[in-house]
Symmetry: C2
Subunit: 584 residues, 2 copies
């Protein structure tokens, strides 16, 4: 029971001090979330109030089902972009069908997440590698920023790829509104300045770090209030795009459209949004939990996110996930339990009830500026350089993810990244590193003859294969062994060192059986050494060990003692070994 309702766990020990901390954190997150929820709804092509709706029920539900103490769920930039990409081909923006599809997307994502959680499939998120996630987030941030920049000039531009956006912007450029630009650009500059400088300035002026942080986070609210006042005071609403009429009142429960054809069309996007959202959620949740030595349950997080998305759909919202920046703010502000999320939901409900009339005159350019500043913090080109320095294949996966996302859209980008990283892994393991080894003088240790000063015995080939033996490399092993045989005519024994062999699958077993028979024909015995327990257990269930012409040794040292005792024992005494080598 407690596993599926973690609230029963932390709720039991809930105290007044915790309440105070949670309330303060909720206040700060609410202030941050009001402009964000409106902005991300517009980014997804939806009416502004949908963002508010998606910030109430999901937060309440996550409080009941979530295991991460400081995670803040709600609308986020990347999921909003993916929602727009998924729904735009299906219906005209602004139509009831568009909203219906977005709601159905949240519902289906929720069902998928819930099912994955109940089936304990949390491990699937691991198949998206860090370089692919990093590249995807960077490219998404660029796409979002590129789509919002023209909004600073009052232009509404849609496009799922960078080329689309560039063409759309070029076409609309003549319609740019100077007066909108006079609002948008200063807001953008103000937000960049507050983000990079305000906290330091306030602290130099003697404010505490905490208060300075809160004031910095409140900067978007200041921008919203100031530009709304300006727009109202100067009567700009006819000349500058504004948010306009937002229906007041709390969301009314609705059911998503049950249209099988629609669900089929959104199945793949829903799966991708779920997976990407889950990866983002679990990353931030684990990072924050680790800071306080807490643990989260990855499978229960799937359940919690699933229920939150279903809740979002039923209350007329769109896909939600755990936001990175917002969760960090929640954590820094002192949130101790998921109750902070419930308090934020109450704050958002109050905003929905009482603030919406005040937002009529809010310029859309202000919201665009808040989005641009938020997403550009996600863009991390330095990761490309760091990854290239470490691994070319990881770099290739990251670069491909970025380029495909920019040129062909978010769904193609994440799919290509995952496929490429898996493909590169398979390709790499299909051509494993193979080392011929010899004994390190004075030890029982064996190392690569090409890298270390080691001793080998004549007529014996000790070969270490640095990969599990399985279908992608089964034939490779055969080729390498035959090559080695061709080079050493006087060979009598081949010892295959299996210290790095974690699995031998059926394909590789067939290859080993073939090799054993072929070596036998050539008068060469095949031995194995350092075979691991689980691998040995499996081999014992096949006829291979009976057919093996040689032996299976516990260690490579045992093998060499059995096959070439003089060389090996001499070499074990380093001094004698050196003398013996000098004498040869």
């Amino acid at each position: 029971m407690q596993r599926y309702f973690p609230i029963l766990d932390w709720g039991r020990t809930y105290r007044r001090a915790t309440l105070g901390n949670d309330l303060l954190a909720a206040l700060i997150v609410t202030i941050m979330l009001i402009p964000q929820s409106l902005a991300y709804a517009l980014l997804a092509g939806l009416p502004a109030q949908v963002g508010l709706y998606a910030s109430i029920a999901p937060l309440l539900l996550y409080t009941v089902f979530g295991t991460a103490r400081a995670l803040a769920v709600g609308p986020v930039a990347v999921a909003s972009l993916m929602t727009a990409a998924a729904v735009a081909p299906l219906a005209a923006e602004g139509s009831a069908a568009y909203l219906g599809a977005a709601v159905a997307l949240a519902f289906l994502s929720g069902l998928l997440l819930l099912a994955m959680g109940l089936l304990r499939l949390g491990f699937m998120a691991n198949f998206i590698s860090h370089p692919v996630i990093s590249g995807f987030i960077t490219a998404s941030g660029l796409l979002i920023a590129a789509g919002q920049i023209p909004q600073l000039a009052g232009l509404s531009v849609r496009g799922e790829t960078l080329p689309d956006l560039v063409i759309a912007i070029t076409e609309k450029l003549p319609q740019a509104s100077l007066i909108t630009l006079l609002i948008g650009l200063p807001v953008l500059a103000f937000l960049f300045w507050t983000r990079s400088r305000l906290k330091g300035t306030l602290m130099r002026l003697g404010q505490s770090a905490k208060l300075a942080g809160v004031m910095t986070r409140a900067a978007p609210v200041v921008a919203v209030a100031a530009t709304t006042l300006a727009s109202w005071g100067f009567g700009l609403s006819g000349r500058v795009p504004v948010v306009g009429e937002i229906p007041g009142g709390l969301p009314v429960p609705v059911l998503p459209p049950f249209d099988l054809a629609l669900w089929k069309q959104i199945l793949v996007p829903a799966a991708l949004i779920s997976l990407v959202g889950y990866v983002e959620t679990i990353s931030v949740a684990q990072t924050l939990a680790a800071k306080r030595r807490q643990r989260i349950d990855p499978d229960q997080e799937l359940v919690a996110l699933g229920v939150a998305n279903i809740g979002s759909a039923v209350s007329g919202g769109f896909p939600v996930t755990g936001g990175f920046a917002r969760s960090v703010v929640n954590f820094d502000a002192g949130a101790e339990t998921p109750a902070a999320g419930a308090f934020t939901a109450i704050g958002m409900a109050l905003a929905t009830l009482f603030l919406t009339p005040l937002l009529f005159h809010l310029p859309k350019a202000t919201l665009a500026a808040t989005i641009i500043v938020a997403v550009l913090s996600l863009v991390d080109f330095g990761a490309l350089r760091r990854t290239l320095a470490y691994s070319r294949s990881d770099f290739a996966a990251m670069l491909a993810t970025i380029l495909v996302t920019l040129v062909a859209g978010v769904e193609a980008g994440i799919s290509a990244g995952v496929a490429l990283s898996i493909g590169l892994h398979l390709w790499r393991s299909s051509r494993p590193h193979v080392a011929v080894v010899g004994q390190v003088p004075g030890t029982e240790h064996f190392r690569n003859v090409a890298r270390h000063n080691v001793v080998t015995a004549p007529g014996i080939l000790s070969i270490r294969i640095d990969e599990s033996l399985y279908f992608p490399n089964a034939r490779f092993l055969e080729d390498r062994l035959l090559e080695a045989l061709a080079e050493q005519p006087g060979l009598r024994h081949v010892v295959l060192i299996c210290a790095a062999v974690n699995v031998i699958d059926s394909s590789a077993l067939e290859t080993l059986e073939d090799m054993n028979a072929r070596l036998k024909d050539g008068g060469v015995s095949l031995h194995l050494s350092e075979v691991k327990g689980p691998v040995m257990d499996k081999l014992a269930r096949s006829p291979f060990l009976h057919e093996l012409t040689g032996q299976v040794f516990l260690t490579q040292y045992d093998a060499m003692i059995a096959l070439a005792p003089e060389v090996t024992q001499t070499c074990h005494d380093a001094a004698r070994c050196e003398t013996a080598r000098a004498a040869r």
Copy 2:
């Protein structure tokens, strides 16, 4: 030049003795190929002569480009079934569009194979594991046999899946022709008997093994001749389906239809036929080459198969590949060079020129019987049992391939098999085997504490992870280390034994950096031991080694000597070790 034209290599040393052997093998293969080529063309839904055409140009071209000495290319059962499955949805059987699509399929397959060969992508075939191939061949054999059985009763049944076939057969059953059955069943019984018994009987009667083999292979020709004579003699051609008019003369070179929409539709089937055909070809070619200690060039085989398929298309044929049974016959009959293939092509050309009028009265039921007997030898249910005994995940991949092929068709089957075997591999490597190890008394060797009688030192956790560290298992390692830490409060050192770690990718590197920092916070040092050269080279390019709180040791023994010298040295002397343990 010799790389792309292997004929320049073996042709240079071609002698008269070789010529004799190649001619005899060609004669035997031609006798076998005449009924097969007609039968497989009908199986693919094509006119009989298309099978003859596909047995001329491809064989000549393979002689020029192939590296396998005894491989016999031409129409084969599985590729014919896949052709029918690919083309049937696009055009009505018997129409010019159907033939055009089959020709285009051969052309596109040829281009794909050629491109893969020139790009040296032969390794891609390794991604189809042996269990998947075996399951696919078994299921294809069953599908083909199921489709041919009703033809014994004069019923023409088409269906891409087992359920389709069962429904179609049930519907047509009332139209069964008794007289056709009176031809089909005896032929079937005769062919089964010759395949299983004739060779032994002949050898008991004093014939040489070689001659008995040849006579056995000629049994289908005997059946063809006898039933054709019977059908002609009794004037059955109105009541029994016969092959009928076959246009005489050699094929006229044509170009395949260049219709972009068509090519798009057949792209995936062409890729699958290419891959499956290549895998079958390379398997038989390597098996036969190994028997004579010859080597083949897998990438050049792609080129050769590609050119052969383009040749087939241009001469009005359909996809060809290296046939398993036919190549074994060619090899057994003494074929020494690819020239045997050219001689077979000449034999088939002569048959096309002079034999076609004689085949008018050949009952189709006879051809169906030859197909059934041929494909049932491909069905190997024993492989399921053998694979289950060895590996459950390989068994799962094999069973899934069989079931999906039978229920959803050949393309779905092979795709599902490949996806599942890759998925299972990733899943398995996402949950690697992890062992806590201790020293084997009297040695420098370290083994799993759960399996061996070993010695450990207090405050030191030596943990061996039996898998490369990469994205699918990066988080798993973190979980296991944190678990181990929670269980051992007095811990001071963690040694990660990397003997089985063949790669550390960027995702795992991030995890290691996190772990290093977290262990540091807890006052625990992280050490590595037995890191392989290539892994160490990469780590040296990252900041990780500078941040590492512990050391990197060449061997686990070195690590333990440095961290717990008394325990380790005592243990190295087995007798003293036992005393020390008894004293504790």
